[in-house]
């Protein structure tokens, strides 16, 4: 599959750093995001949300709200279809509570009115009679036998014997190989520890927003900010009981997602309100709603045990992970279990995970979902074990790093990847030798993520002037349109500026999976390369017709059709523009397309290195220096690859030091705003240095691996290792906020 590599110097456009196609609109304020769309006759929609963590809805009286002048529709769970497919049922119930509210912020009812003020007033007129139930928001508490039960129809899956009583533990998973007992028996030194992490939010700056317009006959359109408009279409159609073909969804520019916009929240509500009111309805979440009702991560309680021989060989690795996924079943703990030990080789590995239900919003994906917390725990123990053995933590990682052919923690043998290169690069990096001052520490950590392929459909159309339009169905979250244009320019041999990329609506392309799993540049990129090859074949055929020679006698070289050899005839090469200009007379429009379920995604590894300083009197952690080294396979647009590395690292810094969901005794979220949900600000940070490793993925024509997610996996562990080194105490809970660090230091002194 790998057709081009950097080594043979074949790339002309891929690997350069041109201006992005959507850049001008974004620096001038013209780019249209979710909340920027206006439709004629549009109403304002607002959602009434539960003030209780757990309560039965005894009744909802909407009559006063309906009677208010300017109110055009009020909806509750009764307005949604009953026979929703199982796969979408939880999604629907998460959008609007059915019979019971499961967390503070759970949607209960919604209104559409002629103004924001009237809509807000109407919400206050809706009378909900709640029977408040006991609640649980802590993952360990929820596992106890006497914990308040969220669902009486959930029984733990994955146990050897099917349970007979319902539980907040929705499932048990297990991965691994070998026999860890034997492995630990072979170990000379063993470290085991417990860890806790608190939930974090993706923290995108753009709140969820959409405008829906649905007619009584089930024909509709929806404009929204999402990572996957095809997913939005399919889910909304299922929940509203309408045909997929009748709903056209257009993805707006998206103001950040990081996994949090891979599901729906307000979209079916806007459409249901619109259907009832007979007018378009716009719903825009407030920041408070974003925090209370949309996708945080799991919080976790973990136990990790690793043993090694005195020569530094790891003999066994074992982990127990409990992740809460909010009020609904999730799969995040599986990913934590699979990735936890993925950076290492050991004959004996075992991870057991529990998916736990609590009265919190349904956990959504967040950049390498499930992996960062596990990595925090594992990489902390790896460093501690190395220190106990008297081996440099970086050397210890090099010694035990998983290589091609080693059996992975999640099952299959590793294929070629760049983990060792990231570690070697870290060792050789200037950062590694910077001397440290008092109260300072250096930490390193490695991270792994799978990266995905998935369903993808693209098209490519050649204009009469020789310019190229490409359409993708994967939302551009961070500059992927530039990468798409680069790959098509490379393949067709036309200048980057002659290629333009749009994210097409759901009626214009075949189904596309969501922009998630670091798949877009890989999967849409490969589909476009294949679309371009399809078009090249047609361009050659047209040239053959013009020259009146057989198709096989024409080849495509450097943006031109040429006779394939001396026997093909003497013709001057024809450019793409020349052939395109004759398209009308040679058979009509020239286009290429490709639809597939992309195979061949390449995993990605990273090593992060960080220096911190801790204020010994307040426990405050300052990040002094940070370096990200990650395998990108092939960096199509290196500036945006660096951007992914830097952005992931800084999100990880936030997770490590200050970000957390804080619940009160009443089960209500205490910090639903950017004031007290503390994401890093510019003055908190140093520059984030990056090194791009290019160990090509053999599953992609140019060697591309996904890059978006791996960068959030190592930071918390790297910072924990750094802070622990600085203060001489092992930090085992996130976030490492000042009170927690100071307490750990004081406890150690006592």
């Amino acid at each position: 599959m790998l057709d081009k590599t950097a080594d043979n110097g074949e790339f002309k456009y891929v690997g350069t750093r041109p201006q992005r196609p959507d850049g001008l609109d974004k620096v001038t304020g013209r780019a249209r995001f979710g909340a920027d769309m206006v439709m004629p006759g549009m109403l304002v929609g607002k959602v009434l949300r539960s003030p209780h963590a757990h309560a039965k809805i005894k009744s909802i009286d909407t009559s006063a709200a309906e009677a208010l002048k300017g109110v055009k529709a009020v909806i509750t769970a009764d307005d949604f279809t009953i026979d929703v497919p199982e796969a979408e049922y939880d999604t629907m119930v998460n959008c609007i509570a059915h019979g019971k509210v499961l967390y503070d912020g759970h949607g209960v009812a919604a209104v559409a009115a002629t103004s924001q003020a009237i809509a807000n007033k109407a919400l206050k007129l809706i009378k909900v009679d709640y029977e408040v139930l006991p609640h649980v928001t802590d993952v360990e508490e929820a596992c106890k036998d006497d914990a308040p039960l969220l669902h009486d129809n959930i029984f733990t899956e994955g146990l050897d014997e099917a349970p007979t009583t319902p539980s907040n533990i929705s499932g048990r998973v297990q991965f691994g190989h070998g026999d860890v007992e034997k492995g630990f028996a072979d170990a000379d030194t063993i470290v085991e520890r417990k860890f806790r992490t608190e939930a974090t939010h993706q923290g995108y700056i753009e709140p969820h927003a959409c405008v829906g317009n649905l007619s009584a006959d089930g024909t509709g359109e929806l404009w929204c900010c999402t990572q996957g408009h095809f997913m939005v279409r399919n889910s909304c159609a299922a929940i509203l009981g309408i045909d997929i073909s009748r709903l056209r969804v257009t993805a707006s520019e998206i103001g950040g997602g990081f996994g949090g916009k891979t599901t729906i929240f307000i979209e079916p509500i806007a459409l249901a309100l619109s259907r009832k009111a007979g007018r378009p309805v716009k719903v825009v979440m407030t920041r408070d709603e974003v925090f209370r009702a949309t996708g945080p991560t799991s919080s976790a309680s973990m136990w990790i045990k690793i043993g090694a021989k005195s020569d530094g060989t790891i003999t066994a690795m074992e982990g127990l992970l409990k992740y809460q996924g909010g009020a609904f079943k999730g799969t995040w703990v599986s990913l934590g279990c699979m990735t936890a030990f993925a950076c290492y080789r050991a004959d004996h590995m075992k991870t057991v995970g529990y998916d736990v239900l609590v009265n919190r919003p349904r956990a959504a994906a967040y950049r390498a979902p499930g992996a960062p917390m596990a990595a925090f725990a594992v990489e902390s123990v790896v460093t501690e074990l190395a220190e106990k053995l008297g081996i440099d933590p970086l050397e210890f990682r090099l010694q035990n790093a998983a290589k091609e052919g080693d059996q992975s923690s999640y099952g299959p043998k590793h294929r070629a990847h760049g983990l060792i290169e990231t570690l070697e690069t870290a060792k050789a990096h200037a950062h590694y030798d910077v001397p440290l001052g008092p109260n300072q520490g250096r930490g390193i950590a490695c991270g792994f993520w799978f990266n995905f392929g998935g369903e993808t459909s693209t098209s490519l159309n050649i204009g009469a002037d020789g310019t190229v339009n490409i359409s993708v169905g994967t939302v551009d979250v961070g500059g992927s349109r530039a990468s798409m244009c680069l790959m098509v320019a490379e393949e067709l041999g036309v200048p980057y500026e002659k290629v333009r990329c749009v994210v097409a609506d759901t009626s214009s392309l075949g189904h596309n999976d969501t922009t998630d799993g670091s798949r877009t540049t890989f999967a849409s990129g490969m589909a476009l390369i294949l679309s371009a090859r399809d078009a090249k074949q047609k361009l050659c055929a047209r040239a053959a017709k013009i020259w009146e020679i057989p198709e096989e006698a024409v080849e495509w070289v450097d943006g031109h059709a040429r006779p394939a050899g001396p026997n093909a005839g003497e013709f001057d090469p024809m450019s793409l523009a020349e052939i395109a200009g004759k398209a009308e007379t040679t058979g009509g429009p020239i286009a290429g397309h490709h639809e597939y379920n992309a195979r061949g995604a390449g995993v990605s590894f990273a090593t992060h290195m960080v220096d911190t300083e801790v204020d010994p009197d307040t426990g405050r952690v300052t990040v002094l220096r940070y370096t990200v080294i990650q395998d990108a396979g092939k960096a199509v647009h290196p500036a945006y690859v660096e951007g992914q590395f830097q952005g992931g690292a800084v999100q990880g810094i936030g997770w490590a030091i200050n970000e957390e969901y804080i619940y009160g005794e009443d089960g209500r979220l205490q910090n639903p705003g950017f004031l007290d949900y503390r994401i890093p600000v510019a003055s908190d940070l140093p520059m984030i240095d990056t090194v791009i490793i290019e160990n090509p993925n053999k599953g992609h024509p140019y060697g591309v691996r996904g890059v978006g997610e791996t960068s959030i996996v190592p930071p918390m562990a790297a910072i924990a290792n750094s802070v622990s080194a600085a203060v001489g105490v092992r930090l085992t809970e996130l976030p490492m906020s000042p009170p927690r660090v100071l307490k750990a230091m004081d406890d150690a002194k006592a």
Binding site: D22, R32, Y204, I205, T286, G673, A682
Partner: protein
């Protein structure tokens, strides 16, 4: 209740609009005047995505009432380029890939311009503190800071 009639200057143009007493300047700009470049990220002055200047002072337009704009001079991201000529900051943001999703970009540009108008030769620390009220979740700020520093250097040289 009848609405308030506000006469103001926006990006050099005399403008008038009607607004409710509790309506913010941000809502007036976006909903009444179609100037959607300023974004609402939080509504509480914590993210800076709605940054504009009022009589030359950098503010969060979500924390200004529309009625307060009476007789003031407002500038927004839409007034930053001179026709088809980008402000150097806008160009540098493109050159340095200082945006990913772009939702925070208008606010950063307006805030950074206010900084350079005020301090043409800022240190990295000054840039970071000046821009601390503008949240970016995509970039880790690295390329934004570089773009601002590079613009300042170029503008001083020009």
């Amino acid at each position: 209740m009848s609405q308030i009639h506000v006469q103001t200057t926006i990006n050099g143009d005399e403008t008038e609009f009607l607004c409710d007493a509790e309506e913010t300047l941000l809502d007036a700009l976006r909903d009444k005047l179609g100037l959607t470049g300023a974004k609402e990220g939080c509504g509480t002055g914590d993210c800076g995505a709605c940054s504009v200047t009022v009589d030359g002072r950098l503010v969060c337009s979500c924390l200004v009432l529309g009625a307060e704009a009476q007789g003031r001079e407002i500038t927004t991201i839409e007034g930053m380029a001179n026709g088809d000529e980008l402000h150097p900051l806008q160009q540098k943001f493109l050159d340095h890939a200082a945006l990913q999703c772009g939702i925070c970009t208008p606010g950063f540009l307006v805030a950074a311009k206010a900084l350079l108008d005020h301090t043409p030769d800022p240190t990295e620390t000054e840039v970071r503190y000046w821009l601390a009220g503008n949240l970016c979740r995509c970039t880790g700020y690295d390329k934004i800071i570089r773009a601002v520093m590079d613009t300042a250097a170029e503008m001083r040289g020009a």
